[in-house]
Amino acid sequence: MSVSIIILVVLALSALGYFLGRRRALSLAAESGRKLHSLPGYYGQTVALFVAVPAFLLMIAWLFVQPMVIDARVDGMIPDSVIPEGGARSLVISDVRRIAGGLDAVLARNSLDEGALTDGRVDFSTVRGRLAEVGIALGNDVPTEVFEAAKAYRQGAKIGTLAMTLAVLVLSVGLGAWSFTRIRPDMRARNISEAFIKSLLIGSSTIAILTTVGIVASLVFESINFFRMYPASEFFFSTVWNPQFRGGSELGILPLLWGTLYVSFVALLVAVPIGLLIAIYLSEYASKSLRSVAKPAIEVLAGIPTIVYGLFALITVGPFLRDWFAQPLGLGNSSSSVLTAGLVMGVMIIPFVSSLSDDIMNAVPQSLRDGSYGLGATQSETIKKVILPAALPGIVGAILLAASRAIGETMIVVLGAGAAAKLDLNPFEAMTTVTVKIVSQLTGDTEFASPETLVAFALGLTLFVFTLGLNVLALYIVRKYREQYE
């Protein structure tokens, strides 16, 4: 049975368990005349969860462990002699796996049964060709040992899958039946099912952690490779960013970090005041109808592809700033500048600040507003002194989200601020950000195993640590000023 069918069967069993459990709880209660501890639905839920959750867990564990076990067995069957010179054992093993999968396909295509493999109804003397027919690619021809190993692998996998099907179904039915018979009117069904749900909630929040682990892990490996080729001290402290094709690049992160900070800062300088004012206006002043139109409309700003913003920066904002500000003020004549990118990016992240803050401010209880109005405060005083402080944690969250988006943006920076890494205070100068360089180094034409490409990973990792620091700071600030209402 394939995995998806097992899943469907278990789900069906679980639904059945729900109805049976519920019914049994009701009838038991009626029989014994005792009150149920929990609502009848919870008894059903308990049975359903017992049917489904452990079975699924077992299945997942099995799917992980089985290949390892089989690999270990197959590993023993492969003599060192068949491992090609300079090749790795793991490659041969993956060949084995592929051949095994291919055999299935071959059999399926020729509508043959198991016996065909052993009694030679199919000619497997040219395994490679045979497999190619069904779209399985092999690098080399197949030595007999490997072919035998593949057959064993197949056998193992077959037995494993069968055993898994059995085990999962038995566990599912068994636990279901067990929990079913355990139903008593005084059983704490709600607590049990809530404990299950709580563990699901915990499971969901571990995804965030796993994602972090995954990100760090996928960055660390190549970063280490990078630091093997390029001195870390240069990377962290050099003020020059100048990659070259033929090596001898200077890859200092400082100008990029500076550009990131500068551009994000300008963007926030635009987005935070405007976004907050919008949130205030919409949640406190605007009529319901205006709000219900304006809020989703402004949210569209966050959905416009960044290339549009980028082109807007490049074609309109950049030359405008250059002709009207930079040149008259003698601050240079670059049409791409930190200010250009920052302004345009600021517009893009307005909704992050405005919409989230608006929701949070809307959730501040009316009684607080009344309290302030009752003292003769104007609306703006009420907003500034009562509502904003009460909504602060949510607002900081919104701003952080906006900042995050600003740090992660590339297209607007490329088109608006340019690609030159520079350490400069002048906002009319072209600069660039870490993220832009991560993208461009990663997708460039340089060979992968060169510091010029691998630097992308080191940049990613450094940025990760850097923003982590900023977030810790933000959390600390929120904690300090948080006001809990009611």
Partner: protein
């Protein structure tokens, strides 16, 4: 998997997609999937191993590197074919309404290098306008949009324009002298460009360069030949060393700034992925890559040695060691 998977250079992408489209139209095979993502990443993906979930072909705007080949070998990808599909011309163009330019590589080096020789002295680049470099050039302020360091085009630009110009105008000699004869350091000195905003790196694509030229009418951009050919109504192309870039002048080698384009095929996949061999042959066939084919019409400079490539492809000759 029933379709061919291709990844790599975004310079090769337009040509590859023209071929893929025609291939899908004229055969029973599904249209191949052509990813862009850079030559480096494409070659890395090619070398990730053999099997269904790895790609079949990597497009590349530069030759494969030894490190890639080693990586391939380590992952069991032994045989790869190198297929040269033609040449990409690199042109210098400015706004259509601006003046005509006739450059030499030396002009470009003088315009963009950080240090140049002036009156026999190695000095920080003093030039502000083209006519200061050479009186024949128009009196326009210098502003150049050159490919960013992520682009393979930049390598060619550095090599065929900047370094060549450096030699031409004598800066190389002066640098060599300053570096006590160290050739490498001198070359590096040649390639150090000024950072005062006169030379602008473009990390994006040619459309960005075009938009920048549009926004800065006195700017000169570096484009691919095919891109220029699609926008002859907006751009005025400059000559280099007296030669106007075109498919013909590049093929004949008269126009100096060009580079070969390649793709690399994983031989292990050839009989396995349906249509792969046919695709490869189709690509280099005369109908596609020949001088009268659609690729050439689109701006790819046809390889004079195409016939050789066709043979090699038929024979599935894997590439030998890099020379």
């Amino acid at each position: 998997r029933d379709q061919i998977q291709i990844a790599g250079s975004s310079t090769v992408l337009p040509y590859a997609s023209i071929v893929a489209e025609a291939f899908g139209e004229n055969t029973d095979f599904p249209t191949p999937v052509v990813e862009s993502g850079g030559s480096g990443a494409g070659r890395k993906k090619l070398c990730e191993g053999v099997g269904e979930n790895t790609i079949d072909i990597a497009n590349s705007s530069s030759r494969i590197k030894q490190s890639d080949i080693d990586n391939c070998a380590a992952n069991g990808v032994k045989e790869i074919q190198e297929v040269r599909i033609g040449y990409d011309g690199i042109v210098f163009a400015s706004d259509i309404n601006g003046p005509e330019y006739a450059f030499t590589p030396a002009d470009w080096h003088s315009a963009l290098a950080a240090k140049v020789v002036k009156d026999g002295q190695l000095v920080d680049n003093p030039y502000k306008a083209w006519n200061e470099i050479r009186a024949e050039l128009p009196a326009q302020p210098i502003l150049a949009f050159i490919p960013g360091t992520k682009h393979g085009t930049r390598e060619v630009f550095d090599e065929k324009v900047i370094v060549a110009g450096c030699e031409e105008n004598g800066t190389l000699e002066a640098l060599k002298a300053a570096n006590s004869g160290d050739e490498k350091a001198a070359e590096k000195g040649c390639m150090a460009l000024r950072t005062d905003g006169v030379s602008v790196d473009i990390d994006g694509d040619y459309t960005e360069t075009l938009a920048r030229v549009d926004a800065n009418k006195n700017g000169i951009g570096v484009f691919g030949l095919s891109f220029y050919q699609n926008n002859t109504d907006k751009l005025r192309v400059a000559t280099m060393g007296g030669v106007t870039p075109s498919v013909e002048t590049i093929a004949s080698g008269e126009y100096p700034v060009s580079r070969p384009l390649y793709f690399y095929v994983k031989n292990a996949h050839l009989d396995v992925i349906p249509g792969l061999q046919e695709y490869v042959e189709f690509f280099v066939s005369d109908e596609m890559a020949g001088p009268d084919g659609p690729l050439s019409a689109y701006g790819l400079v046809s390889d004079p040695e195409l016939a050789k490539t066709q043979e090699a492809v038929k024979a599935r000759t894997p590439m030998g060691p890099l020379n």
